[in-house]
């Protein structure tokens, strides 16, 4: 049991990195560990973490999804437009997620059936759906979405911010799918070696398509969180979010080659990025230096991860 625990901690080396990060920041900025700030960090992390969980599915199969930022923008814009015209929030959210799934399906279909590289397909859909967002919004942010919609991003339930609850639920579902279901096992098998997975009778096309649908859905869900937090759906929402999501997955120890990794690591990776963002702000690091430090931390973490192999 003890050995087991030790093993599982060491499995997530990134967790050690996260703890060290927290300790260092809390020494420099005592406010870091305040309850209010912890809630703060978790809420900020939830936006990236939800996308990154979907991205983990894609990366576990050896793919990549660059279009998440655009999926986020287009589904959030449509949801905001619907809320303004009909006032029906739950239906707007369902439509947003459906749009996310649909774009994910287009990605997945082109990648699995069209045999085009994921990088190229999602690069193209990233550009296309950014354009669709501009057309739909006319380049103007959609705001005035009302108090009850704002509640999703700004209210708490039992002391926990709603975005954090959403993140926990999405994580729970993803963890269950990947570790307890046949689909999860097939997904790892496909990521490990696509040919042998196919030869052993797994419908690889179906599994591959589905990961992009899942990723699209999480991106749309994250779009709902972002939009309700700021009370406005901007045509520029989510630009470069794909990079933060990929960074979280990689920091969590998931291999870009596929077949290896977990969503637990992804959550830790997202937390590292979030804590770093928050910590650098709390420590008054000049914005000009912040991105240098962030880049270095990602590079170092991945280098160390690589060393074990």
């Amino acid at each position: 049991m003890k050995k087991n625990l030790k093993g599982s901690i060491l499995k997530y080396k990134s967790l050690v990195g996260l703890l060290v990060l927290c300790i260092v920041i809390s020494f420099i900025s005592p406010r870091f560990l305040g309850i209010a700030n912890i809630k703060n960090v978790l809420t900020q992390v939830s936006v990236n973490a939800v996308i990154a969980i979907g991205m983990s599915f894609v990366i576990l199969t050896g793919g990549i999804d660059l279009s998440v930022g655009s999926i986020l923008a287009v589904s959030a814009a449509v949801a905001a437009g619907m809320i303004k015209s009909t006032g029906n929030i739950s239906f707007a959210i369902i439509v947003a997620i459906a749009i996310g799934c649909l774009i994910g399906f287009i990605n997945g279909f082109l990648i699995s059936k069209g045999r085009i590289q994921a990088f190229i397909v999602t690069l193209a859909t990233m550009i296309i759906f950014r354009g669709v967002t501009y057309v739909y919004t006319d380049g103007i942010p959609i705001s005035g979405l009302g108090q009850s919609f704002s509640g999703i991003g700004n209210k708490t339930i039992l002391g926990l911010p709603i975005p954090v609850l959403i993140m926990v639920i999405v994580f729970g579902i993803a963890y269950y799918i990947l570790s307890q279901t046949r689909y999860g096992r097939y997904l790892y098998a496909l990521g490990g070696n696509e040919d042998s997975a196919r030869l052993s009778g797994i419908n690889t096309d179906k599994i591959k398509t589905l990961v992009y649908v899942i990723c699209g859905a999480t991106a749309a869900l994250s779009g709902i969180i972002v939009t309700s937090r700021i009370g406005s759906a901007s045509p520029n929402a989510g630009v470069s979010f794909e990079l933060d999501a990929i960074a979280a997955v990689v920091l969590g120890g998931t291999s870009l080659a596929g077949g290896e990794g977990s969503v637990v690591g992804t959550i830790i990776g997202a937390l590292i990025i979030g804590v770093l963002n928050n910590g650098l702000n709390l420590m008054n690091v000049s914005p000009f230096y912040q991105s240098i430090i962030k880049g270095l931390v990602i590079l170092l973490a991945v280098l160390v991860e690589k060393k074990k192999k």
């Binding site: 305040g34 700021i230 406005s232 008054n284 430090i293």
Partner: protein
């Protein structure tokens, strides 16, 4: 495996500590009551970098610490920045919004934490704002009109290129311009059309005006971009007219130096930042401030 975890920790902490030292070297630690937060829409634009520098200089001069964060034109980043600043125990918050609507929830968040908010350059469409600091656009419009009338010895036909209809900059710059030129003997506005602050549209609209009403002596454009478009149009029509822009961006200043542009009304972002800090400190001390503080402009001519 254990070794690499240790190595990772060591490296992370080293990078962080070095980063903090480098980043903070210019700021000295002060007690909680003397820290101001500032969130700028983007630092990827010289205008806002000057604004930041002006604010930092003023804060240093008055013995306050200022923390400036960059929203990278992303409203959700802006929201996170505001939350992080509120955590730091700032006395008040200066914000240059990425978008007038999207900033409202961030401002409400600060309000809920009992932090007074000062907006700079762009207005907020909601929330409780103690003070708004922006260029005196009406005055700028008047300066442009006066410059044109002086050049024309008080007589002539004028063209006005307006910005996006309804935008506050369009309204105020136009109002100032009309304050001076309306009802003046010998002065006539022969065309007044919108070109949406856009260079391409400034070019097209000016071309159309040249076709429709070729007899004019001067153009006032509500911003430099449209003025630069107007220069192109009048050059290709071989028309030598006085053109005045607004903003004072680098390209416009160069055009003034080369004589293509007669003048531009330059905004002073550094002064905006500095005035915002002055007002923030007044508010922190419990003094009353004006709800809207206009910032002076500068006429740049050859």
């Amino acid at each position: 495996m254990k070794k690499s975890a240790k190595l990772l920790s060591l490296m992370l902490s080293t990078v962080l500590i070095i980063g903090t030292m480098v980043g903070c070297s210019s700021q000295k630690a002060t007690d909680g009551g003397k820290k101001i937060g500032m969130v700028v829409s983007t630092l990827n634009n010289p205008f806002f970098v000057s604004m930041k520098e002006g604010a930092e200089k003023k804060a240093k001069e008055l013995g306050y610490e200022i923390v400036v964060l960059d929203s990278q034109n992303d409203a959700s980043k802006e929201r996170s920045n505001v939350e992080d600043l509120v955590q730091q125990g700032i006395v008040d918050l200066i914000i240059n919004p990425t978008d007038s609507d999207a900033v409202v929830n961030s401002i409400t968040f600060a309000n809920d934490s009992n932090i007074k908010v000062i907006t700079v350059d762009r207005m907020a469409n909601g929330g409780e704002v103690a003070c708004h600091v922006a260029s005196d656009n009406i005055k700028g419009g008047e300066m442009a009109a006066q410059f044109i009338l002086d050049k024309l010895n008080g007589k002539g036909n004028l063209v006005e290129l307006q910005g996006i209809p309804g935008a506050s900059a369009t309204r105020d710059r136009g109002k100032g311009f009309h304050n001076i030129v309306d009802n003046k003997d010998g002065v006539k506005i022969v065309a007044s059309q919108a070109a949406d602050f856009d260079r391409q549209k400034g070019l097209n609209v000016t071309e159309n005006i040249i076709q429709a009403t070729p007899a004019f002596d001067a153009i006032f454009a509500h911003n430099d971009e449209m003025a630069l478009g107007a220069i192109k149009a009048s050059k290709s029509a071989n028309k030598d007219v006085i053109i005045v822009g607004f903003d004072g961006n680098d390209e416009a200043k160069k055009a003034v130096a080369s004589g293509d542009l007669s003048a531009t009304i330059a905004q002073k972002p550094d002064l905006m930042g500095s005035i915002a800090v002055e007002n923030a400190i007044k508010i922190a001390k419990g003094e009353t401030v004006e709800k809207e503080v206009p910032v002076e402009l500068e006429l740049i001519k050859k």
